[in-house]
């Protein structure tokens, strides 16, 4: 998969400039896209190349939380800024009502200007998309 194809999708949804993707190579395996720092890859049999950044299986395509934590700081649209108690709810992996006017779909969720991860926005609700192993447990 070439860099400009990937960049076009991220620009259209999140307004991330194409230059954020410079210096990386992209590979598609099944429905996933992987991003790795550009360098010559020795002729070996690989299990994984860099970071899985997006899943093209469903419509719309879904960004991974780890990719948003790297690329999301360049995003200019479809951002949701949370307050402290909302951030805790999001980090626990739950849904939360937000008072915002966004296009339905995946959003960059931030707290104090830091990207927490990926949310799914629809009709005034953000559903946390944090992978289970990246969630806070309520008791801590």
């Amino acid at each position: 998969m070439n860099s400009s194809e990937v960049a076009r999708l991220w620009k259209s949804r999140f307004g991330i400039p194409e230059k954020a993707f410079a210096g990386y190579r992209f590979f598609r395996k099944a429905q996933s896209v992987w991003m790795i720092s550009a360098s010559d890859l020795p002729n070996l049999s690989y299990e994984a190349l860099g970071m899985r950044i997006m899943n093209l299986k469903d419509r719309p395509w879904k960004p991974t939380t780890c990719a948003l934590q790297i690329l999301g700081k360049h995003a200019t649209k479809n951002l949701v800024h949370l307050n402290e108690s909302q951030a805790m709810t999001f980090l626990e992996g739950k849904s939360l009502p937000v008072d915002t006017n966004l296009e339905p779909g995946y959003v960059v969720v931030l707290y104090r200007e830091e990207v927490l991860g990926c949310g799914l926005y629809s009709r005034g609700i953000v559903i946390s998309q944090l992978p289970k192993e990246r969630r806070m447990t309520s008791c801590s």
């Binding site: 070996l44 049999s45 690989y46 994984a48």
Partner: protein
């Protein structure tokens, strides 16, 4: 354990410290946060920390479950044993190089190497076990390591390459982890060490073959058994030379040169042994080799 009586200095103090648990330690992941900003965050939360005397990105944390900290979930820190941060430091990878981590999972050292290279160049993280690839991948993704490619070869048969640097953090009897959970020393014995030695020699020989001429090979274990340490390193001294290890702020003991009444060849005293009662850490062994 008594078989180490003559090689571990101040043996009674060594035995006594094994009952004391270790501090929780973490590495600051500068791929995702600046060091000063991370320290500020810990201060804001009232979490006590102390920087290692020998490594500015290693911290002792005064907290019960550091794995549950938001800073860990977001990949700003990585929970890692103090001496586990030593092999990458000695490997000294540079941005743009091609580095092989032959026994990579769970990726603490892999991601530290990636951090030291500032995500530039390439780290091949090899891990034969499919079950152990999952935590390796997960740690690379959480920590934002973007220059890591994962392979699944048996390290003894990793096929080809010409690497600037190779790390062999070998499977071992883990006697040095006793302070993390009692019993590893009791379960360990000479026979287990000799079984592992075959694998360790195979790994180190292949690592040496895969390094470029003048390339660096680091061999490390978290065990005391000479069978798994000096007696492994001895086997590659025709193809590489040892370089003496010295880290300011961390006291090492020289590698041993005699064991079971036999004198080893080469200057194995250039290897470094770390004992828990000397630096208040776990136990560790490291050798730095330069390929001919």
């Amino acid at each position: 354990m008594e078989r180490y009586k003559d090689i571990i200095p101040n043996f009674e103090a060594f035995k006594a410290v094994l009952h004391r648990p270790l501090f929780n330690c973490c590495r600051i992941n500068t791929l995702k946060i600046e060091r000063a900003r991370l320290l500020e965050r810990l201060d804001e939360k009232g979490i006590g920390w102390r920087i290692f005397d020998w490594y500015p990105f290693g911290l002792k944390l005064d907290v019960q479950s550091p794995g549950k900290l938001l800073e860990n979930l977001l990949g700003y820190i990585h929970i890692q044993e103090e001496l586990s941060m030593l092999p990458p430091l000695l490997l000294d990878p540079q941005p743009g190089e091609v580095v092989l981590d032959l026994c990579a999972s769970p990726g603490s050292k892999t991601t530290q190497i990636s951090q030291m290279m500032n995500n530039q160049g390439l780290v091949i993280a090899n891990e034969p076990s499919l079950a152990r690839v999952s935590p390796l991948r997960s740690n690379c993704e959480r920590l934002g390591a973007l220059n890591v490619a994962i392979t699944r070869y048996d390290g003894r048969n990793f096929p080809r390459g010409s690497f600037d640097r190779v790390l062999v953090d070998a499977p071992c009897t883990s006697e040095g982890r006793e302070r993390r959970g009692r019993g590893t020393i009791a379960r360990s014995n000479r026979k287990r060490s000799l079984d592992l030695q075959k694998l360790q020699i195979g790994l180190l020989k292949n690592a040496t073959r895969l390094a470029k001429p003048k390339g660096v090979v680091i061999y490390s274990t978290c065990t005391y058994a000479p069978e798994e340490n000096e007696l492994v390193v001895e086997k590659v001294l025709d193809d590489a030379r040892l370089e003496r290890i010295s880290i300011s702020g961390l006291k090492d003991c020289p590698g041993i040169t005699e064991w079971s009444g036999e004198t080893m060849k080469g200057d194995l005293s250039k290897c470094a042994r770390y004992y828990p009662h000397i630096n208040d850490t776990g136990g560790f062994f490291v050798a730095k080799l330069i390929k001919n």
